[in-house]
């Protein structure tokens, strides 16, 4: 389960990196990419949540879930701004990306460590 979540979130991160290029160039990221990115991330987070609620393992990955959830809130904020043509604060996009990347690093460290 955790592996599935990691794969989904990794794909979301790759698309996120693709989009941040647009944000830094002050261009509109393609909405299709944004939707796929959000859907992959949401599925990954959902699977992590189900895992945390159902597993009997000691490490339930609540810490990674919390990091990704925080990143997701930033993502929803960014998407809602972008779709209404409000200026996206570049720093929010960068922080959102950084949190997502940190989460990915964190969960990989715990899974492989």
């Amino acid at each position: 389960m955790v592996l599935t979540a990691i794969i989904l979130i990794s794909l979301a991160v790759i698309l996120g990196l693709y989009m941040i290029k647009f944000v830094l160039q002050k261009k509109n990221p393609p909405k299709g990419v944004a939707i796929v990115h959000g859907t992959l991330a949401a599925l990954g987070i959902l699977i992590l949540l189900i895992y945390a609620l159902t597993t009997s393992e000691h490490h339930k990955h609540w810490d990674s879930f919390a990091i990704f959830f925080t990143a997701a809130i930033g993502g929803i904020y960014l998407f809602s701004k972008d779709i209404r043509h409000k200026n996206i604060p570049v720093w929010v996009a960068v922080v959102h990306g950084a949190i997502g990347l940190t989460g990915l690093g964190w969960i990989l460290y715990h899974v492989t460590g």
């Binding site: 299709g32 944004a34 043509h85």
Partner: protein
């Protein structure tokens, strides 16, 4: 080129464009049936009113409709009854009947030359598959005191399995009505401006509407623009569809009066006749589909023509046109104040909006004068009906999400500009961005961003209307980028043609 019979037959208008800054009590954006009837009533109430119309009066859907007036609804009253309840269906029928009567009274009072006449409404099925729909409508009609006669045959040459007739409905030329009524508006209180596009509204205690050469400041604004301009939550609850119309002259045969609705679901045809001193016509309409989600839009006209020729001895198709309507999630239009204080709209009329447009004006007249209106609550724009809306809401918004997926890297219709033929438009990917590329008849290439300026969906080329149509919320743009209709305020962003892609 497409051209509607109504616009061609109605008197021309010649109102000035706005050239200065003005302040009024009510600014009405849109000079269709909703805007002009609202202006008429509000000016009569003594309010200072300005009507701002981006093109010409009745140049939008009103002038592209069928011109039928009836108390029933496109989706059938029994649908409203099953989705809502008996009381609601009755209120819908009563409110619509009141609006039709009001139109008749206005026509008589002001002697508006719009060929208004009372005619019967027919609903028929060509095969017994749809007999049940007719049965249901007979029962519902009876419940609301509407006298429906059953028939074995129609005055038009169509073989029917079953049919009903309701007397006392009406028809007119909608463009002639709107333009005629506009002339009768109290000119002391109301000024009409044509070719005055509102491109921005600064919301505040006083709203400021910006146009090219002037501004209008008003405490109250009515967005009589069919779909409200800008971004409103209601746009997730109204679903844009296009429909096609032809007006044919016949070699032989009669032009019997009436509104003829076929229950056949796939092409959803309706027919009517129009007779005046300038000529007689049979109108055939149908082929509705979601905006911007088809290929080869011309085929809808071809299919209508085939249908007309099958039934009538057609001499010539003199007019053909298409138009847009917005289906509401819970079956009723949204009329009233929006989530922004002092900004009102009327939308989600489906193909029943000539009557609903006038009904909206009746509601606005009361709401903006601080009076109660018996139907305001029923059609309230801010209503929340999750259970009644859920099915359509989920289906249609998943569809919108799918449209966004067209904006993926590498997903374009053409790689190079030379793949775009003369008179054609295609989406081409240039520098990681989708461009709407149109090559006009002289071979000149017009390039714009293909990203809709409303909510960023990728627009689709409509070969029948030579327009860029947004599949998400129905904004439409000229081949040259300017807004035609829909919720978008701004034209498509221009792009520089000089590009590596024309190699």
């Amino acid at each position: 080129m497409t051209r509607s019979l109504w616009k061609a037959k109605a008197q021309k208008t010649n109102y000035p464009a706005l050239k200065n800054n003005i302040t009024v009590d009510v600014a009405i954006v849109g000079g269709g049936i909703t805007g002009i009837t609202s202006a008429y009533f509000l000016a009569k109430e003594g309010k200072k009113v300005a009507v701002l119309e981006s093109h010409e009066l009745a140049g939008g859907t009103t002038g592209d409709s069928t011109g039928n007036l009836y108390k029933m609804v496109d989706k059938r009253l029994h649908h409203i009854q099953s989705k809502w309840d008996e009381k609601t269906a009755r209120a819908v029928a009563e409110s619509r009947a009141a609006a039709v009567d009001l139109i008749e009274n206005l026509v008589k009072e002001h002697e508006i030359k719009c060929d208004f006449k009372r005619v019967p409404w027919y609903l028929f099925s060509e095969t017994n598959k749809k007999d049940e729909t007719i049965e249901k409508e007979i029962i519902t009609a009876k419940d609301y005191g509407i006298k429906a006669d059953t028939l074995q045959e129609l005055p038009i040459p169509v073989q029917v399995s079953s049919a009903i007739k309701v007397e006392g409905q009406a028809q007119f030329n909608p463009a002639a009505f709107v333009r005629g009524l506009a002339e009768k508006i109290d000119s002391e209180n109301c000024h009409i401006y044509e070719h005055t596009n509102v491109h921005h509204i600064e919301k505040g205690e006083d709203h400021v509407l910006s146009t090219q050469h002037g501004t209008v400041t008003a405490k109250k604004v009515i967005l009589a623009t069919h779909s409200p301009k800008g971004i409103y939550p209601v746009q997730t609850a109204i679903y844009p569809h296009r429909e096609y119309a032809i007006a044919a002259k016949l070699n032989s045969g009669d032009y019997p009066d009436g509104i003829y609705w076929d229950t056949e679901a796939t092409f959803h045809t309706s027919m009517r006749t129009f007779k005046n001193h300038t000529g007689n016509y049979v109108l055939v309409l149908g082929g509705h589909h979601k905006v911007g989600q088809e290929d080869n839009y011309e085929r809808f006209f071809e299919k209508l023509e085939q249908h007309a020729r099958k039934l009538f001895d057609v001499a010539e198709i003199e007019y053909k046109w298409s138009a847009q309507h917005y289906k509401p999630a819970d079956g009723l239009p949204y009329i009233g104040e929006s989530s922004d204080d002092g900004i009102y709209f009327a939308t989600g009329f489906s193909t029943d909006g000539l009557t609903y447009g006038v009904l909206s004006a009746m509601i606005f007249k009361d709401l903006l004068s601080g009076r109660e209106n018996e139907w305001a609550e029923l059609y309230k724009a801010k209503r929340f009906t999750p259970i009644k809306s859920a099915k359509n809401y989920i289906k249609e918004n998943i569809n919108v999400a799918k449209q966004y997926l067209k904006d993926l890297p590498g997903k374009a219709e053409a790689e190079r500009f030379y793949e775009v033929g003369i008179g054609e438009g295609k989406v081409v990917e240039v520098d990681d961005e989708k461009w709407a590329v149109y090559k006009d008849e002289t071979g000149q290439v017009h390039c714009h961003s293909a990203v809709c300026t409303h909510m960023d969906c990728i627009v689709d080329w409509n070969d029948a209307e030579k327009s860029w149509d947004c599949p998400c919320h129905g904004s439409r743009f000229e081949a040259t980028g300017d807004v035609i209709e829909g919720p978008a305020f701004s034209p498509l962003d221009k792009r520089d043609v000089k590009s590596r892609k024309d190699s």
